[in-house]
Symmetry: none
Amino acid sequence: MIGRKRRKAKVQPLYQQVATQLRQGIESGHYPVGGPLPTEAMLCADLNISRHTARDALRLLEEAGYVSRRRGVGTYVLSNRPKRAYVQSLGSLDDLLHYAHDTRYEIEGVRRFSAAASDLALLQGKAGDRWIKLTGRRYQLLSDRPFSITVIYLPIRFESALDEIRDHRGAIYALIEERFNVPIARASQELQAVTLSAEEATLLDAKPGDAAMRAIRRYYDTDGKLVEVSWNLYLGRLFTHSSWVDRENRL
Amino acid sequence: MIGRKRRKAKVQPLYQQVATQLRQGIESGHYPVGGPLPTEAMLCADLNISRHTARDALRLLEEAGYVSRRRGVGTYVLSNRPKRAYVQSLGSLDDLLHYAHDTRYEIEGVRRFSAAASDLALLQGKAGDRWIKLTGRRYQLLSDRPFSITVIYLPIRFESALDEIRDHRGAIYALIEERFNVPIARASQELQAVTLSAEEATLLDAKPGDAAMRAIRRYYDTDGKLVEVSWNLYLGRLFTHSSWVDRENRL
DNA sequence: TTCTATTTGTCCGTATGTATC
DNA sequence: TGATACATACGGACAAATAGA
């Protein structure tokens, strides 16, 4: 035999075929959002399949976020676009931030202030909100060389944690989370490539114009209230951000 | 003994009871991480339940990330604690890559080559693997100003797509996905801040030493095989990477 | 309120296919 | 090749939730 291997045509399992058919019906508008899907019994009869097969198909659609199912009511279309096609799973926030655990934060300045209009792009509250601003650098435990300039903004209500923050090892958000019992429910991060100013270069023991990564992170509690904002500057050659996502639904 | 008959008092469904029992067995160490769980047949016999019930229980554990199931192999313990504390949900890979949809890729060079040992850090295969290397720049549709230098590496088996790639609008991985019917199951991205060399600056209509973001992306199919590697360079002031995660389990 | 029809949820039985060792 | 283990698919029965008469 020449060239390519003969390959048995792989047929999709029946319940996946049914799911695909229904999904296409949803996406095409044949089953409008908010409307009902055929009942299990109708699918069995129309497609000449068993109830198990129909249920497995509907389960796929439910897991993918297309439909909701309620006993006694039926199956209804929730959305004509998949809830999420790809998902990144993390064991902790540190995994997102690629956070070096064995570091210490040295505070070099503390200031209380009221947010001005120009601060709102970073701090996202209202003008006049009271904040604490901590400026400092982060060091690896066994090194005298700083690897980041870090500015931390905390709402004034966390003022009483200031003493504990000094020379705290690890992440500040974790300290706040524990000290005030406010679970972090969401975190965001913005990364941008920049070059170092003369002042920044001095602080990082580098040269002006060197590449650096600026990271702005925001932490929110379960009510969506901002718990912490951090502004960080890393030397480019010392900082790589890697992330990945997996496809979640095979529909 | 599991509560078999349903009484007036609300009892958990049987398959959930079985799942709970197995989960506790995992968390207690009775089923160690990496070890096997009882097979479906054993569960049926030991607990005097049907295969469906056993499968439903195991499905719950799989969806929760406790176990992996492989036909012909068995059910094995993946983790003794809930899968993921934080999750990032994306509708598409474009959302991860912050991909500008209205762009075109202009190819300025095509080369076929065999991977050398020095290429393996980027291409991750074996030395000697055959690749196609496309060099070019990406433009916004209505602009003559390039916004990225993009080098794309494709396994030689996708050679026949070369013609379609030329001047293709949008992402190359989507083209490959459709053209060869290889769904992208996973994608990874590495970001690092760098400064532009003289040559790069010329290509991007910028100045040498300007800040730039280097993005290396890899796309894998369902078998974990590498489908595409792309190497990109963006002007720092034109590129911000933002991401967020949500806590998934409220415990 | 009560009753009934409808719809999904749970549970069982059985058979065959497919991947792996 | 055979044995094992999960995947798919058929069948039936009853329970629980809901909506409407």
